[in-house]
């Protein structure tokens, strides 16, 4: 077996050297009755070329962005990924290393994470950021638990426009801990929250709002922050499409106390939902309740600057049952990808990508809105996603687009029964104008065919 360097003979020799007669002697601690007599029922070992062919076949069964034009977003976005990212993260010194527990020989990862933390602070307008959580949804659940620790309250108001899967994850995480979750409904006209209808009480730990929200709409974060702060509650802002931060005011300057988000848009491939990257940033005074790893600056005896994992007392290492979170392995390689992406784009590039997303989404939405039988469902400012309402069956429309190699959007009825006649469309910088026009043309045919 080529991944095991020692040959069977070498191993047998080593066993004899240890003073045993057979390798099975080493497994004596496992009770005899539990030791397998038959080999596992698995497919036989395959040659590298056969494995490649097999997976090539499997990969080809998917309709990927390579062969379809993708208008799907909803928490996972198809952005252009500069070539240098894969080249750099494919360096074995990055991807085959472990958590940087030994700073003297892990400065590469540590410095990269320190820089990542800084970049996340800069784009969110917050003071401190953790070194990546699993993904946006679990980052939100962690933020809600963090808000409870900070306020000692267990009532949480969740906007109905927060990604439905994120809300479900929060529900799962808090169910056993006796949290009281309230849903703040969206305005049926605007598709955004009406801040005056969000009524936190002195028992409220946090108000959770997503912006741009699940329908793409930009929420009035500032007013919501004021309402939360009036009763001593925290405002948690969720960002599933952080490219928007290239144009939008950062949540930090709108009064957010904790910003969580999905960092996938920053150079991480779609990859059928993962691995992704949970962003979490907060204010300086809350740092000791922040979940996940943190890297800090340190100096050696000669005054040379280096970086170390720090504030680890919050984690499982010490006072384990008092740990603020159980997170151990997280997503450092994805954090590295995000850092490289942001450094490659720089402030100008991030703004330009965001600008193109906005302009292209606006263009397509205008053209769709002019088609008979189609309209924009909500009256709000949006970033790169918008909700289309149709007078024909949504699935029929999406299937029609599919026939033309277009994944046209996400049917909303599965998450919002009242929006059964609507679908969510996402446009990124990766879609050229001809494809936008072709999308409109297919919808046009669909209307004229009836």
């Amino acid at each position: 077996m080529r991944y095991i360097p020692n040959s069977a003979e070498e191993r047998a020799q080593m066993v004899r050297e240890i003073g045993l007669s057979d390798v099975s002697d080493l497994f004596r601690p496992i009770p005899e009755k539990f030791r397998l007599r038959e080999p596992l029922r698995l497919p036989p070992a395959q040659a590298e070329s056969d494995v490649l062919a097999l997976f090539r076949r499997l990969a080809a069964e998917n309709a990927s962005a390579g062969e379809m034009t993708l208008f799907l977003g909803a928490g996972a976005y198809h952005h252009f990924i500069p070539s240098l990212i894969d080249a750099l993260i494919s360096r074995a010194e990055f991807y085959t290393s472990y958590t940087p527990y030994q700073p003297e020989i892990s400065q590469g990862t540590l410095q990269a994470i320190f820089e990542y933390q800084t970049l996340i602070c800069q784009i969110t307008g917050m003071d401190v950021a953790s070194a990546a959580l699993y993904d946006g949804s679990t980052a939100l659940a962690e933020a809600v638990l963090m808000a409870e620790r900070l306020t000692d309250r267990r009532h949480v108001i969740l906007a109905a426009t927060v990604h439905p899967e994120y809300r479900q994850v929060v529900q799962t995480y808090t169910k056993t801990l006796g949290f009281d979750l309230t849903l703040a409904d969206y305005d049926r006209e605007t598709g955004c929250l009406d801040p005056t209808s969000v009524r936190p009480t002195p028992d409220t730990a946090a108000v959770v709002v997503q912006s741009p929200n699940f329908f793409g709409g930009i929420e009035d974060v500032e007013t919501l922050a004021e309402r939360a702060h009036d009763v001593g509650a925290l405002l948690i802002v969720v960002v599933t499409e952080p490219i928007s931060l290239g144009l939008l005011r950062p949540p930090g300057s709108c009064g957010a106390d904790i910003v969580v988000g999905e960092g996938q848009s920053f150079g991480v491939p779609l990859s059928f939902g993962g691995p992704y990257l949970g962003l979490l940033a907060t204010r300086e005074k809350f740092v000791r309740q922040m979940p996940g790893r943190i890297v800090g600056q340190a100096f050696d005896h000669q005054g040379r600057r280096g970086f170390v994992l720090t504030l680890a007392t919050r984690e499982q290492f010490i006072r384990r049952e008092k740990a603020t979170s159980n997170i151990c392995t997280s997503q450092e390689l994805c954090a590295l990808m995000a850092a490289i992406y942001l450094c490659t784009l720089g402030p100008q590039g991030l703004r330009e990508v965001a600008f193109q997303n906005l302009q292209k989404a606006a263009y397509l939405s205008r053209r769709i809105a002019r088609l008979p039988g189609f309209s924009l469902r909500f009256r709000h400012s949006f970033f790169n996603e918008f909700v289309v309402r149709t007078n024909r069956p949504v699935n029929q429309v999406l299937r029609r687009l599919q026939q033309e190699k277009i994944l046209g959007g996400l049917a909303l009825g599965q998450f919002y029964p009242e929006l059964g006649d609507c679908f969510l469309v996402c446009v990124t910088e990766t879609i050229p104008r001809e494809e936008l026009d072709r999308y409109v043309a297919v919808l046009e045919q669909e209307t004229s065919s009836s």
Partner: protein, 503 residues
């Protein structure tokens, strides 16, 4: 004369310090749709006033050199032995990386309709089925994004199951030889934690367990083999005691590589187990993730598994099932760390049943080989029945004023990554060595020689060991000050200090 400041032996400045106004590393095609004024699309009060302050401006060469230089300051499995006990760093096959990057996988959107996602869904379902066979469990979920996420999921399943019987109960028993994340996971799941001590052989004290097992106990959370590298020989009795009192047995399967293909947790009566795919199934650790921590259960817990479940239809296709009335709900958006799952499946198919068994054999032989050759040099507090990892202590070196951390740092000078020292908590001055299956005899011999040389240095020149490492770019960093006065980000105004700050 000025030397190049970025030579690999020199400090690399922060990326922000390399920034120069006007440089750019990206290119975008020109906007090809008619442009609308920004403020017509988005209300002005929602817009940023200008580009983001402090973000670096760089050329492509700047970016590539910066990260390439940083990479050279990392130790990695591809460079040599990484004996981090219980963290398990084995070789990461290149084939897995290639397969995981196929366009059909990485450019596949999670909301693509089921009929157009069969490739990815088949990968997940197939891996789930193979891992059920390998663990001997009935069903599983591949959604948990890491081992600790799997722990939390497994405990939630236990809670939901006990709740359905009328009482979720109050606490979880955790042996003192468990992984550090176990108590934290129990706490996040709303359980109190009670520690069960180990006996003189380093195994769960069965009598202590019997006494602790009341109707308030929801579960025993057992790491097996435990962090002493020992298999819990009395597993059958342990399971019986917990079950008889109405509790459930959780197995932390982080060390499953020790008996892969030799025995199955399911056959031992384990109710729920999580695996760490990056440990047992060779997926890379990436400097701290992503990993994947799938959870497998027996019959009792199956109805409570998180949604979506993957179901094979009679036509052989795979569909997502959300209709599970007793489910704990959703534990993560979408379907987990899919890219990691592809790599693990690739590994299993490459090895087959015999190959997996050989992995366990090679790992256990290698650990025992190291133990055998160092047993007269370093104290082995629990020498009986060593499996995939061996735990030394610094007991024999302490009289010279040298601690485990010094020995570990000195190993760096000999070219190795240090072993784990945080566990097990019951061994003072622990050095937990796990060579894994993918190390050859010559590498093990080199390691053994280095450890012997350090032991000699401890006697003859302890100061040399105490101040190690001597060969790295930076010396030991002052972690105490770093934690007391945390500097967690760069700021433009921050004055930099230190001798080597360039420019």
């Amino acid at each position: 004369m000025r030397k190049p400041e970025y030579h690999v032996t020199r400090s690399e400045s922060l990326i922000f310090e390399r920034s120069r106004p006007g440089r750019r590393a990206y290119s975008l095609p020109p906007l090809d749709v008619p442009e609308t004024a920004l403020e017509q699309l988005i209300e002005k009060r929602f817009l940023r006033s200008g580009p983001i302050e402090g973000m670096p401006e760089l050329s492509e060469v700047d970016v590539v050199r910066h990260y390439t230089r940083l990479s050279r300051w990392n130790y990695a499995v591809d460079l040599g032995l990484y004996p981090l006990g219980s963290c398990t760093m084995k070789y990461n096959p290149k084939l897995n990386e290639k397969v995981a990057r196929f366009d059909g996988f990485i450019n596949h959107h999670p909301y693509t309709p089921e009929e157009l996602s069969q490739g990815s869904l088949q990968v997940i379902k197939w891996l789930e089925e193979l891992l059920c066979e390998i663990t001997g469990m009935k069903a599983g979920t591949l959604i948990p994004a890491a081992g600790a996420h799997g722990e939390l999921t497994g405990l939630m399943l236990i809670r939901a199951c006990l709740q359905s019987r009328g009482n979720p109960r109050k606490k979880v028993l955790i042996p003192d030889s468990a992984h550090g994340t176990n108590p934290a996971s129990a706490t996040v799941c709303g359980y109190g934690v009670q520690t069960i001590r180990s006996n003189e052989r380093g195994l769960v004290d069965v009598e202590a367990l019997r006494r602790a097992m009341t109707d308030e106990v929801a579960a025993l959370m057992l790491t097996n083999p435990n962090t002493l590298g020992l298999f819990e020989e009395e597993i059958e009795e342990i399971v019986r005691i917990v079950h008889d009192a109405g509790g459930l047995v959780y197995m932390d399967g982080a060390n499953f590589n020790a008996f892969l293909g030799i025995a199955r947790p399911g056959d031992m009566g384990i109710d729920v187990i999580h695996l760490n795919l990056h440990k047992t199934f060779s997926t890379p650790h990436g400097g701290g993730g992503p990993g994947a921590g799938p959870v497998f259960v027996g019959e009792t817990l199956e109805p409570f598994l998180p949604v979506p479940r993957l179901v094979r239809t009679t036509e052989g296709t795979v569909r997502l099932d959300f209709d599970r009335p007793q489910t704990i709900g959703r534990i993560r958006a979408f379907y987990g760390n899919f890219g990691v799952l592809v790599r693990a499946l690739c590994y299993i198919l490459t090895l087959g049943a015999d190959g997996l068994r050989e992995v366990a054999e090679a790992a256990v032989v290698n650990a025992n080989y190291i133990a055998h050759h160092l047993k007269d040099t370093y104290d082995i507090p629990y020498p009986g029945g060593i499996m995939h990892e061996v735990i030394f202590s610094d007991k024999w070196q302490r009289p010279y004023g040298v601690r485990n951390v010094d020995i570990a740092k000195r190993l760096i000078d000999y070219g190795f990554h240090p072993p784990t020292m945080s566990f097990p908590l019951i061994v003072p001055g622990a050095l937990m060595v796990e060579p894994t299956d993918t190390e050859c005899r010559e590498e093990l011999d080199l390691f053994i020689e280095a450890m012997k040389a350090i032991a000699r240095e401890c006697r003859e020149n302890p100061d040399l060991v105490r101040h190690a490492p001597h060969t790295t770019r930076i010396g030991r960093l002052d972690e105490v000050t770093a934690a007391r006065k945390p500097v967690l980000r760069w700021r433009p105004a921050e004055p930099t200090s230190g001798a080597e700050q360039s420019r």
